[in-house]
C-alpha cells in the first residue's frame, strides 16, 4: 500500500492550518466590544470559575456599535491607512482614520465581480441600524434592530423574521473587508507587504483625487482616494492574469437616505411573517 496513514493523516490535517494567523487576526479584529463584568478575585479554581459563570457574569454588549464601526472602517478607510496617508507614521494615520470613521453616517456602495454584484446601503452604522442589500440575482434584503426582511423577485415572496442577533450584513461587510485588508484589519503588517507601484493625481467625479496602483501577493490593486478626506472612492483588484477579480465603488457617503429605502412594502407580495416563531 502506498499510503502510510501515520504520515498522510498529519499531512492531510496540515491544510487546516492554512492562513491561520491571518484568520486569527481577522477574527480578533471583528470581535464585538463585549465587556464582561467579573466580580471576583484574580485566582480561582475551576469549580469556582464554573459557579461564577453560572451566577456572576454580566454581559454589557455594545455588539452592534462595534460591528458597525468595524464595518465602516473596513469599507471606507482601510485602504487609506495602507496607501493613502501622507503621514509618515502609519499608526498616526490609522488613528486619524478611526477618528474620521466615527463621523460617517451613511455609506452606499457597489461591489461586483465578473458574474455577480451587490449594492448596499448602510445608515447610522454606529448604531448598526439600517441596511438594504440588493443582489444581482433579484434578492433584496432589509435589516434593522427589529426585523430581517428577505424578498425574492423571482418568487415574489417576502419573508419577515424577528431580529435576534447580528444581521447578516455584519458578515457581508466583514467579508468585503477582505478586499481592503488582506492580512489583518488592525495590524500594520501588510503595509510592509504591499508595494506601491505608481501614484498620480487625477480628477474623479469632479474631485481632486489620488490614484494609487499597488501590488500585494501577486494581485494588483487600483485605488482612487479623495485627497481631502480619508475616503475611498473606488478599488479594483486584478489577478495575475490581468482579469478584474473585484470592483468596489463607494457611491455616496453621508448622503441623506430616505426611510423608504429600508422598508420593503408587502403590498402585492406573498408574505411569510415568521416573527415570534
Amino acid at each position: 500500500m502506498n499510503v502510510s496513514l501515520n504520515n498522510d493523516l498529519p499531512d492531510y490535517y496540515k491544510e487546516f492550518g492554512q492562513n491561520h494567523q491571518y484568520l486569527r487576526e481577522r477574527l480578533l479584529g471583528t470581535l464585538p466590544e463585549v465587556q464582561w463584568k467579573v466580580e471576583r478575585a484574580e485566582t480561582a479554581s475551576r469549580g469556582e470559575i464554573a459557579s461564577l459563570l453560572f451566577s456572576g457574569v454580566r454581559l454589557r454588549s455594545s455588539l452592534r456599535t462595534a460591528l458597525a464601526a468595524a464595518a465602516v472602517l473596513a469599507i471606507a478607510f482601510g485602504i487609506f491607512v495602507h496607501f493613502g496617508s501622507e503621514c509618515d507614521n502609519p499608526q498616526a494615520a490609522w488613528a486619524a482614520a478611526i477618528e474620521n470613521a466615527g463621523q460617517v453616517q451613511s455609506v452606499h456602495f457597489r461591489f461586483s465581480t465578473g458574474n455577480s454584484s451587490v449594492e448596499m446601503w448602510c445608515r447610522h452604522p454606529q448604531e448598526f441600524r439600517d441596511f438594504r442589500v440588493e443582489y444581482s440575482n433579484g434578492i433584496v434584503t432589509t435589516n434593522n434592530y427589529e426585523k430581517h426582511c428577505y424578498y425574492s423577485k423571482k418568487t415574489n415572496l417576502l419573508s419577515i423574521r424577528s431580529a435576534n442577533g447580528p444581521p447578516l450584513e455584519k458578515y457581508l461587510l466583514g467579508e468585503l473587508g477582505k478586499l481592503f485588508i488582506e492580512k489583518s484589519p488592525f495590524s500594520g503588517d501588510l503595509i510592509s507587504e504591499s508595494k506601491i507601484l505608481h501614484s498620480e493625481k487625477i480628477t474623479y467625479k469632479g474631485e481632486q483625487c489620488l490614484k494609487i496602483i499597488a501590488e500585494m501577493k501577486g494581485d494588483r490593486f487600483e485605488y482612487i482616494l479623495d485627497k481631502k478626506d480619508p475616503l475611498i472612492f473606488e478599488v479594483k483588484r486584478y489577478g495575475p492574469s490581468g482579469k478584474v477579480r473585484s470592483h468596489v465603488e463607494v457611491l455616496d457617503v453621508d448622503r441623506n437616505m430616505p426611510d423608504s429605502l429600508f422598508i420593503i412594502v408587502p403590498q402585492g407580495k406573498k408574505v411569510a411573517d415568521r416573527r415570534g416563531k
Binding site: D8, L9, F16, R245
Partner: protein, 191 residues
Amino acid sequence: MSFDESRLEGGSLTVADATLVLETLKGDKTAFSGLYDRYARLVRAICNDTTRDLGQAQDLGQEVFLRAYSKLDKLNDPDRFGAWLVSITRNVCREYRRGKFRDRHVLVGLAPDEDEQATEKDSPDERLLDLKEALNKLSEKERLALHVYYLQEQDAEQAQKILNISRSGLYRLLAKAREKIERHLTQSDKT
C-alpha cells in the same frame, strides 16, 4: 495575567481552557486568541466535512468562533470549552446545510480566487485526494474522532474530553476509521 502567544502556538496545552475562558470573560481578547489557536484547525476540519471547500470551511470557522465568543457566558463548565465549541460547530454546519448562510456565500463567493482554484485542480498529490475520498466515506463520529485526535496533538485524554466518550471508545472509533481508510486506499491502489 497576560498570555504570551508563543506559549500557545501549536496547540500546546500549557494554559487550561478554563483559565483562558475566564480571562476572556474578563475582557482579555488575547486569551480568546489562545483558544482560537488551540481549536481553530479542528473547527475548520469539521466544517470542511460539510462544505468540502476549505475557503468556505474557514468562513464557517470564523462564524463558529464569533458565536462562541458572544455566548461565552452561557458555557456552564469552562473546562469543557472544547466539547462545547464542537457542538457549536456542528450546529453551524447544520445551519449551513439548511442554507442559512446561502446569501452570505453568494456574496463571499463573488470573488472566486482563480489562482487558488487552479492550484487545487492541478495538484498532483493523488495520494492525498484518495485519502480525502476515504475520509468522506467515514461516519461522522469516526471522522470527528480522527479530527480531534490528530488536531489535538494526538492527545487521547484531550480527545476523549472533547468527544465525551471513554478512552476505549475513542480507540475503537479510531481503529475502525483507520481500518476503513486503509481498505479504501488498498482498493484504489488496485484499480
